[in-house]
């Protein structure tokens, strides 16, 4: 397969991260659904290292939002978490509710959701809602009201919002989508988090604004030394800002690799087909992947991609593939595409 021209991209190779900030180990999540139980996540593994920007890539319905919500601790009512561990700095929040409460207090996570308008209450000014986040973050004891206002204004300026004090007085409906998303990024950073989870943060925005927000996000993450989990279906966006890519399909993780390595040559058949299905100038019409995503209530056994996979082997139908490789670079496949030496 052809490789994406890497010129102009901002991806860079990171050294192997020393500590895992977040580790998801063999976690499954079920939802009750009309017609049965949807097995939304199946023994998923994911890791984010200190200061890393990890892209969580997949189509709609692959489970990336569920995984993001699992990490944030806001799964919808009725969801069941089965097995595995979810560790923040080696402390497992799935061990007990008490442990979860303690760990989450010590490890704040910033959340930048897809729809900024839905995240804010229309009845309160922006500044008040930002202040609310600040009030409940770790350093609350030390700030008075004036100090809080100052810190919010500073952060708003850092996300390149013009006239922060005026913005703080406005209501959500008075701002554009791009401005609101900057506000949410600022609010996420106000928590002084070690990790920011961004769930499709640019999907609802105009294309011209998308690039700005992505640049801003990456710049701030590097500057503040904050790790980012960036869930998206847009491979181009992932290529722009992520250090490492994890691809998911139908609730299972497929491949994890550093950005440059991944885009030079993905090894999981699904990831390869996904890359090929991206439109490229001058390359004609892209090829789509035949078939459709599986029903999560009754998913295919073994590797869930096997019905659509051009490299499927009989074993793919019965056994879940093991993850081959290291923590940084691995592919979960019985017949992965052979590795090539990437530039």
């Amino acid at each position: 397969m052809s490789s994406i021209r890497a010129s102009g991209g901002m991806a860079r190779q990171r050294a192997h991260p020393l500590t895992d900030l977040v580790r998801v180990a063999d976690v499954s999540v079920d939802f009750p659904a009309p017609g049965g139980t949807a097995k939304v996540l199946d023994r998923v593994n994911l890791a984010v290292g200190t200061g890393e920007i990890v892209g969580l890539v997949g189509e709609s319905g692959c489970g990336k939002t569920t995984l993001a919500r699992l990490i944030l601790g806001v799964l919808p009512a009725g969801a069941t978490v089965r097995g595995g561990a979810l560790c923040f700095e080696e402390r497992d929040v799935l061990a007990s509710p008490r442990e979860e409460a303690l760990v989450r207090r010590a490890f704040p996570i910033g959340f930048v959701p897809q729809e900024p308008r839905a995240a804010l209450s229309p009845l309160f000014p922006i500044g008040a809602q930002a202040g609310e986040v600040l009030r409940w973050s770790r350093r609350r004891a030390r700030s008075g009201r004036a100090d809080a206002r100052r810190r919010i204004a500073e952060m708003f300026a850092r996300v390149q919002l013009p006239d922060p004090l005026a913005i703080m007085r406005r209501y959500p409906h008075e701002l554009s989508g791009g401005q609101l998303q900057r506000v949410l990024i600022a609010m996420a950073l106000l928590r002084e988090p070690r990790l920011v989870v961004a769930d499709e943060p640019t999907t609802a925005l105009d294309v011209t604004i998308q690039a700005q927000i992505l640049t801003l996000l990456r710049g701030l993450a590097l500057e503040q030394r904050v790790a980012v989990l960036f869930a998206t279906h847009d491979l181009g966006a992932a290529w722009e800002i992520c250090d490492r890519i994890t691809v998911m399909y139908a609730g299972q993780e497929a491949e994890t690799a550093p950005s440059a390595v991944f885009f030079a040559g993905p090894r999981h058949p699904y990831a390869a087909l996904l890359l090929e299905s991206m439109p490229r100038p001058g390359a004609g019409l892209p090829e789509s992947i035949t078939g459709a995503v599986p029903n999560l209530i009754d998913p295919p056994p073994g590797c869930r991609f096997h019905p659509r996979c051009p490299r499927a082997l009989p074993v793919c139908r019965s056994e879940r593939p093991p993850a081959r490789g290291s923590a940084v670079e691995s592919v979960r496949c019985h017949s992965p595409i052979p590795a090539r030496d990437a530039a």
């Binding site: 919500r69 995240a119 409940w136 209501y171 409906h173 928590r191």
Partner: protein, 333 residues
């Protein structure tokens, strides 16, 4: 600025609507041929007297002219003479207004003051035993006939238990006062035994009127809170470390209550409707009793005057509610 525009637009329609009401009511009253002159003059009037009476009151003019004269009179606050008491209808209504207003005010107070917290509690504890019990209570509250509930309460508390008086607004003479609200006037004059007497008289009528109103408010508040709890910002705030109680009591409640305001307008309408029969049962000297007596005596002028007056009040309250909604929701500004 939009607020002023809204008020202006509504104020234009209000007089037209009321005018339409007057015309409607006038037409209703003249559907059945009747002879108000005869009712005024009594059984033994001579023909000459009747003719003179008709001329004096303008009953002998053609209907459109009568309608016009009526409209003009109403604008001047003159709703004609009560065929029964022979005193101006407008004056009679004005005298009785405070009694009904006091009743309505306290009923609304109880309905909202109890209804909203109960609705919120039910929403937060969905499907608990508390929620189910409340459901049963509110469903009955909306199905019970107000006049029957009044009679039941009277039976139980006044006749069997003897804790509240059977009827009336006060045992003796009312306080001389400024507001017309006995509760306020008695307190202002420092007469505490009278105050207690007034409150004991208020208890049952307020309980009767507020019960169905409270049922409606509980249901809508509960639904509103449950609906808002499903909003994304609830999840967002939880993910961002804001405690659930803060999310609920500061943000969810505000969102849910914006919708409740409209319901209060509806509730007020039902309250006025209920007041008619409740005043009849408790012999409460207000507008409702006035309406009922007028019916029994076929006092058309009085009936019509009452209807128009209620129309004015209702329209005013709805306008206030619309204004209140715009004030509460910044999106409208």
């Amino acid at each position: 600025m939009r607020l002023l525009g809204l008020i202006a637009r509504r104020l234009i329609w209000v007089p037209l609507t009321l005018l339409g009401l007057v015309v409607l009511v006038f037409m209703v009253s003249h559907v059945v041929p009747s002879d108000p002159a005869r009712i005024l003059a009594g059984e033994n009037a001579t023909t000459a007297q009747l003719v003179a009476l008709r001329h004096e009151y303008g009953f002998d003019r053609p209907l459109p002219v009568q309608l016009l004269r009526y409209i003009v009179a109403v604008i001047h606050g003159n709703m004609g003479i009560s065929l029964y008491t022979e005193t101006p209808v407008a004056g009679e209504i004005w005298r009785r207004l405070p009694a009904t207003m006091e009743l309505a005010f306290y009923s609304m107070l109880v309905a909202v003051g109890l209804g909203v917290p109960l609705g919120v509690a039910a929403a937060l504890n969905r499907n608990s035993w508390f929620d189910h019990v409340l459901r049963v209570v509110t469903v009955s509250g909306l199905a019970i006939a107000a006049f029957w509930l009044a009679i039941l309460l009277q039976l139980l508390f006044s006749m069997w238990l003897g804790v509240t008086p059977v009827q009336g607004r006060i045992s003796d003479f009312g306080p001389s006062g400024v507001t017309g609200f006995y509760t306020i006037d008695a307190a202002l004059s420092g007469d505490w035994s009278m105050e207690i007497d007034v409150l004991r008289h208020l208890a049952l009528p307020v309980a009767t009127l507020s019960f169905p109103a409270m049922a409606t408010i509980v249901r809508f508040t509960r639904a509103g809170v449950i609906g808002t709890l499903g909003s994304f910002f609830v999840d967002y705030q939880r993910a961002m470390g804001i405690p659930r109680r803060v999310t609920v009591w500061r943000y969810v409640l505000r969102s849910a209550l914006t919708g409740t305001l409209t319901q209060i307008g509806l509730v007020f309408g039902n309250l006025l409707a209920g007041a008619v029969v409740v005043e009849a049962v408790f012999d409460w000297p207000g507008l409702g009793q006035f309406a009922v007596n007028s019916i029994l005596q076929s006092d058309y002028n009085a009936i019509l005057g009452f209807t128009i007056y209620v129309g004015v009040m209702f329209v005013a309250v709805n306008l206030l509610i619309d204004i209140g909604q715009v004030v509460l929701d910044p999106r409208g500004r």
